[in-house]
Symmetry: C2
Subunit: 234 residues, 2 copies
């Protein structure tokens, strides 16, 4: 087996907030693969692999690089077919895509609006100017203006996870059923992201997402415990 | 093999609009099982199986009755394990539940508000008073008041399918991937329901849902073609 290197977004205090990197950290752990995590700032990404990729996660293995969490997950299932599969079937993979896309629609924009200034404030100094400029262009207003109106965006973002709450209400310990799977890693990635940088709680203290997130954080030797989930809930 | 009987909601002109019955008609076809469809009005349901069930679909087989689409789907996979499975894995089943629940959240209430008066108007005469009373209590206003404000509810209901559109944008012919599956039947059930009774179009004529729905309608000898999808789109 060749060495695997994962380029992982780094912010202040060596936190690693990227939701897309989180799902790949869980994917690597699911498959029992060890790797070297290489912390990078946003503005370091163009220097990786000759500027071939614009976002993290990037996985480097055997002289090749793989970018985009879906490309990486497919690569891992293809390169290590004898290890636990991330997608038990092509249908599972499509339905996991639906999970991601439905959460983008129901919660994604509201999450960004709620926490984009927190993300900015946690970035490494060298990354802030680029981030502020690109996000203010995206939203058509300043980060401070977004932060000022965030109470309603947080309410909307919280409600955007209702589909997950209802599914878990069926009684299974994980969104994927009796065992954790990629759909869990997708959703946990979103929440660990907010837990890493949020300065206002996203969830209520009795949210049924919290015991589920605690189970996910406890997987693989407590992989997700490096992020204190306490900041997520009021 | 014992005979299977499916109690299917009937409305005017012998239309069969129930979204939950549609997914079971597709489930039976997916498994290659033939059945006798028994048309029933809403107010006939308490007379079935000694009043054991409150909703359709109800499947009767070998002297037993099964109610609730999930119970029926599980029964079919359990009773006919040698036929194509509805759920290739327990994870697929959980993710299909997520598909249903996320669409309830994103589109369900807006669909009901948009089309509840159309549903009422298509019911058999004997079913209308019960339906009007229960739905006006649910929404706290008359069906006519809901119908008067439906343009914005239709916009909201249409947007509620964006997660499906985005998933299909990945290029697979079905929501479940290369082959149709229960997630397709869930979503198609919602659309065939509206196509059966709607008097205002839900979709735009260039909606990417339409070619997908056409594929689903064409399955199993054109099972869904009994519903003209033309009424769905402007």
């Amino acid at each position: 087996m060749t060495a695997i290197r994962l380029y992982d977004l780094q912010v202040r205090d060596d936190r690693r907030p990227s939701p897309f990197c989180w799902r790949i950290k869980y994917a690597l752990a699911h498959k029992g693969l060890s790797y070297e995590a290489v912390p990078v700032g946003l503005t370091d990404i163009p220097a990786i692999a000759g500027g071939a990729h614009k976002t993290v996660p990037i996985v480097e293995e055997g002289g090749k690089t793989f970018c985009d969490s879906w490309v990486i997950a497919d690569h891992l299932d293809e390169a290590y077919p004898d290890r636990p599969r991330l997608f038990g079937s092509p249908t599972e993979r499509e339905l996991c895509r639906f999970v991601e896309l439905s959460l983008f629609m129901s919660a994604g924009r509201a999450l960004l609006k709620s926490y984009v200034k927190d993300i900015h404030d946690h970035l490494l100094d060298k990354d802030r100017a680029y981030f502020r400029q690109s996000r203010e262009k995206l939203f058509g207003c300043t980060l401070e203006e977004l932060a000022g109106a965030r109470a309603e965006h947080i309410d909307s973002a919280r409600a955007g996870f209702d589909s997950v709450r209802l599914t878990l209400k069926g009684g299974a310990p994980f969104l994927s059923g009796a065992h954790p799977g990629y759909a869990d890693y997708i959703v946990a990635g979103f929440l660990l992201w907010i837990a890493s940088i949020g300065t206002a709680p996203l969830l209520k203290s009795d949210d049924p997402l919290l015991p589920w997130l605690d189970r996910v954080q406890g997987l693989y030797g407590g992989l997700g415990r490096s992020v204190p989930a306490g900041a997520l809930a009021a």
